[in-house]
Amino acid sequence: MMIFLSYLCIGVGLVFWFWGTSYLVGQRSVLYKLHSLSVSDTLGSMSILFGLLLRRPREWPLLILALICLAMWNTMLGYVLAYCTARDANDHKITTSAVPGEFYE
């Protein structure tokens, strides 16, 4: 069961990797590509690491640390890249006013 789950997680991670990376060669804006990149880089890699965690539970401290580092660094680097392309993003216009936490309701 554990082996099946670990392969499932690794498989999902690989699908995320290839799907997200495929958008990088498209014609869309950098910001648009960052969304699919966060699927492949962050979530795909986290899924693969979780699959490894199921296979090698003895190595949990390093794998948990790797998961935390991956989530933290990839997300914040995504923010930094988005910030750096903010000038380009000024071509957009602000559309909606949202209240805090609106996305998660």
Partner: protein
């Protein structure tokens, strides 16, 4: 102070995976010696609430990823999200992390006036058509 210590010791024990007395002493010493920034303290309740939101954001992020995978989100726009009142820099960092972690939304910029500029991808063209970019053919 206690929060810093717990965070540093957690990272130390995850790195070393060793609970011998010597390692604990070294870990505590390093956690105390490392410099820390002087930031406005936030209430434990606020911190726990954000950490709970981050825990919830993990399954939400995967659900959003599958949505993007199976139902293409072709449109993009920028919205403004207001920062909750009296947020410390640490909580603002966690807010930015929380929004950016979910794949449909990325914080572009945090404005000191109290709002986040958030870029998002959506399935349908938003009502204000002039504000969005369509997929190039």
């Amino acid at each position: 102070m206690i929060g810093h210590l717990i965070l540093r010791l957690t990272i130390w024990f995850l790195l070393t995976a060793n609970f011998t007395l010597t390692n604990i002493v070294i870990g505590v010493a390093i956690a105390l010696i490392l410099p820390r920034n002087v930031a406005a303290p936030e209430s434990v309740k606020d911190l726990l609430r954000v950490l709970w939101k981050i825990a919830l954001a993990i399954p939400i992020a995967f659900i959003e990823a599958f949505e993007m995978l199976f139902r293409p989100h072709r449109y993009e726009d920028i919205i403004i999200e207001r920062v909750e009142a009296k947020r410390s820099p640490r909580l603002i960092f966690l807010d930015v992390f929380l929004i950016t972690f979910t794949p449909k939304t990325i914080v572009l910029k945090y404005h000191q006036e109290g709002w986040y500029e958030v870029h998002r991808v959506v399935r349908r063209k938003p009502l204000q058509q002039a504000s969005t970019r369509e997929e190039t053919p």
